[in-house]
Amino acid sequence: MASHGHTIDIFSETRRFERTCPSALIAAVIGVAALAAGFVMKPGGADLRQFMNSYLLAYLFVLSISLGCLFFVLIQHVVAAGWSVVVRRLAEQIAGAMPLMALLVIPIVVFRTELYPWLNPTDEMKHLVEHKRPYLNDTFFIIRVAAYFAVWTLLSRGFLSASLRQDANGDAAISTRLRTLAAPSLILYGVTVSFAAVDFMKALSPMWFSTIFGVYWFAGCALSGFGFLALVAMWVQGSGKLTRAITKEHYHDLGKLMFAFVVFWTYIAFSQYMLIWYANIPEETRWYLVRQSGDWWQVSLALLLGHFCIPFVLFISRHPKRSKATLFIFAVWVLLMHWLDLFYLTRPPEAPEGLLAGTGGGIPLHLLDALCIVGVGGLFWAWVASALARHSLVPERDPWLKESLAFENY
């Protein structure tokens, strides 16, 4: 690899936090408080169902960030990428929050009857749910959720700890081994993420089906993971760490990845919409009909504009991707849009009658949505921040680190 003396001696600059990170503690306290307040007080006359709806949304949002970063780690390993080493530790730590996510999924499993209609089917859906019983049944659901988190925890913690081990012993063979392992890991990742999409989201409308749905969620995961990763990198640099290691070249690449996945998400979303719209088969169309009736039409439009048109036009040029300020806006924007996307996937009511008649109420945004996102997000941040504080912020002795530091976009 060409080197023009751009190599930065990262050992001359700060690359570690102090042992504690105060923001982690604050986030943990706020998170617990918000969740507890939401669950106990149920503001605005909410019931448990409303709380669970909001909780599911917040949880999936955070989970997708974590899964997106896990994808980032795996894909960088499998292709032996050089450029990304300086930000890979951050991604490893974000993905490493999987044990916390496993803990936080418990409310969803416990209160699953509040969320998933197939557990308590209406007369209309009974015969279909009966057909799907071999898959959609209580026991298998719990087994599957357990399996997902077993896989994700294993992968994220495994890759993180191997990387940390390399920090200690500098063994280049670890890189080779991780590269070999990353390929089958990606298969596991793909299968679990797809079925998790079915279980957590598609099963909210047990009569509906779409083969592309797993890919749809994956696109959102990767997008939000990259966005969050860019934000964390900025935060780390804002705290005076890695200020020279992570350059605008790396931000540029992260920006390109976000841009690519904005387009990829659009491609997947359009494919699903187009095919269902065009074929117009009642059992499929119903799902979209709900989402373009009443006020939900505005959410659809907001997604089209916000999740595609606006970022596409604003960030197609290389300049906004190379400036930290504009990339910050881009990252925050895609995270917001991903949240809206999840809201759009999970929240619309299953029964469209009122909506179609035009009498369906507005968009069911609730104070609990905010409380839950603060709660789950706070706990997540507490985990990530404290994990970042415990270890070096870069894989210090990764053999590709030199290439990453010298990396330059042409």
Binding site: M1, A2, S3, H4, V79, A80, W83, H127, L128, H131, K132, Y135, A172, S175, T176, A183, I187, G190, V191, S194, V198, F209, S210, T211, I212, F213, G214, V215, K256, V263, Y267, I268, S271, Q272, M274, L275, I276, Y278, A279, N280, I281, E283, R318, D398, P399, W400, K402, E403, E408, N409, Y410
Partner: protein
């Protein structure tokens, strides 16, 4: 300067040190020599003449079959209700799919800064163009009255008629047409500096004139390179969504319908993955004889083949994911027709074609988990052929099983191709290999300037194949 050609294993990469992309210790001139001597030599390997002979014969057969078809009408094919698409559209989708690897290598790998693409991008792109030519042939002739093919284009005419833009078949015209045009531009643009190389080395007046004419007076000016590289990058960035759109649109031909087995939302990405899968297999299939016959083993190294085999494995897994998802969702949907359609595929009258497809596309590439298989020429030759067979059958399975057993049992019927269809298909291979043979002999098969840019010669290496954007 060109060193002895030999297979050197450069597939193992020590972490921290990139393995060499060019073996044999070639310098700039060495690369020029290796590539140019094919075009400059007065003769060609015997196998080349053999290939050209066979493919010219097949090409003649293609001409005869098409002439016969025009004269007699589409009745000479085995199509009938309910199977209105058979070999024609199967071959169309197959060839379009083959084309995709070229764009993937030239554009997507470029965006991903995969420098190893420089060894193979040129002839992968050529393969794209010839494959798309073969592909364009089939929808063109399957309409029966070819002289009315201009109906497909929005041309002002005396009927005041315009195409129905809401039809997926029309999207095809735009997608495939754009794809062909842009691929051609991309390929030609990459050729310009290399044609200039051939021009500057030309020994005869004719070759100096022809290569000179098409290299348009290229002098390697830094100012020219600057715009050239920017244009190349943007063309790559344009080709990437384009190549995705092409096979997505082809998949729309099926998926916008309501036919069980056709209407499924995963079709667009699944078709794209399958296209890249089969296209890479075709590149491997072509690369193996080419590098051996024309002495290109130093430029198209085992590492290139290894990487391509990894892509075949990855895309094969994606295709397998799609097959499985289709089956799962067919059951999950609870729709009797969906479920029946997939049962009929696996266990109906065409069960054998389904299982050829499944084993060739999903099971066979699994051997590429092993490094010895990825670097063994015989293994990868067999796998790449099988993958192409499997992917051809994939299209056949999708088209024929779904059409032959649709909603109405009383309308079910079978399909069997006639000899005309069989020879037309063989003839399309003739067309492909004939064009490809011409390309191999008379044009630089490897992107000379791009390979030079990734040679580890000095600090200023980089550029076209190098740093991406």
């Amino acid at each position: 300067m060109a060193s002895i050609v030999h297979d050197r294993d450069n597939t193992i990469e020590t972490p921290g040190r990139r393995a060499p992309l060019v073996t044999g210790g070639h310098d700039l001139h060495g690369v020029t020599e290796v590539v140019c001597r094919v075009a400059e030599s007065r003769s060609a390997p015997g196998a080349w003449y053999l290939t050209m002979g066979v493919s010219a014969a097949l090409l003649a057969a293609l001409g005869a079959m098409i002439g016969y078809l025009f004269f007699e009408g589409v009745g000479v094919w085995g199509l009938n209700n309910p199977v209105g698409w058979g070999f024609d559209i199967t071959n169309f989708v197959f060839w379009v799919g083959i084309g995709h690897a070229g764009t993937l290598i030239s554009a997507i790998l470029y965006l991903f800064r995969q420098k190893w693409r420089t060894g193979i991008n040129r002839f992968a792109e050529a393969m794209t163009i010839f494959a798309v030519m073969c592909a364009g042939l089939f929808p063109g002739i399957h309409i029966g009255r070819v002289w009315l093919a201009f109906y497909l284009f929005p041309l002002p005419n005396q009927m005041a008629m315009w195409p129905n833009f809401r039809s997926p078949l029309l999207w095809d015209v735009f997608a495939v047409g754009t794809y062909f045009t842009v691929s051609l531009l991309f390929w030609y643009m990459g050729l310009i500096p290399d044609l200039a190389t051939l021009r500057d080395r030309a020994k005869t007046k004719l070759s100096a004139f022809l290569y000179g004419l098409f290299s348009m007076g290229w002098t390697g000016s830094a100012r020219h390179w600057h715009r050239y590289e920017r244009a190349y990058l943007i063309l790559a960035a344009l080709s990437t969504p384009l190549v995705l759109s092409v096979h997505s649109v082809v998949s729309f031909d099926f998926a916008t319908s309501v036919l069980p087995g056709w209407h499924t939302t995963i079709f667009p990405p699944y078709f794209v993955a399958g296209a890249i899968f089969s296209g890479f297999a075709m590149v491997v299939m072509l690369a193996i004889p080419c590098r051996a016959l024309f002495g290109l083993k130093d430029l198209i190294t085992l590492r290139h083949l290894d990487n391509m085999n990894k892509v075949i494995l990855a895309t094969g897994l994606m295709v397998g994911y799609a097959y499985t998802t289709e089956f799962f969702v067919a059951w999950y949907s609870g729709s009797a027709w969906e479920l029946f359609a997939f049962k009929a595929r696996a266990m109906g009258p065409w069960w054998w074609s389904y299982w050829i497809m499944f084993s060739c596309n999903v099971f066979v590439p699994q051997i590429f988990w092993f490094r010895w298989a990825r670097t063994s020429i015989p293994v990868m030759l067999v796998v790449s052929v099988l993958v192409n067979v499997g992917m051809w059958f994939e299209r056949f399975v999708i088209i024929v099983t779904s059409l032959s057993t649709d909603f109405l049992p009383s309308a079910w019927d079978t399909y069997w191709p006639t000899w005309v269809e069989a020879w037309t298909m063989a003839g399309s291979f003739g067309l492909f290999f004939f064009m490809f043979g011409l390309f191999c002999k008379f044009l630089p098969m490897v992107a000379i300037s791009e390979v030079k840019a990734v040679l580890p010669h000095d600090a200023h290496a980089g550029g076209a194949g190098g740093h991406g954007h």
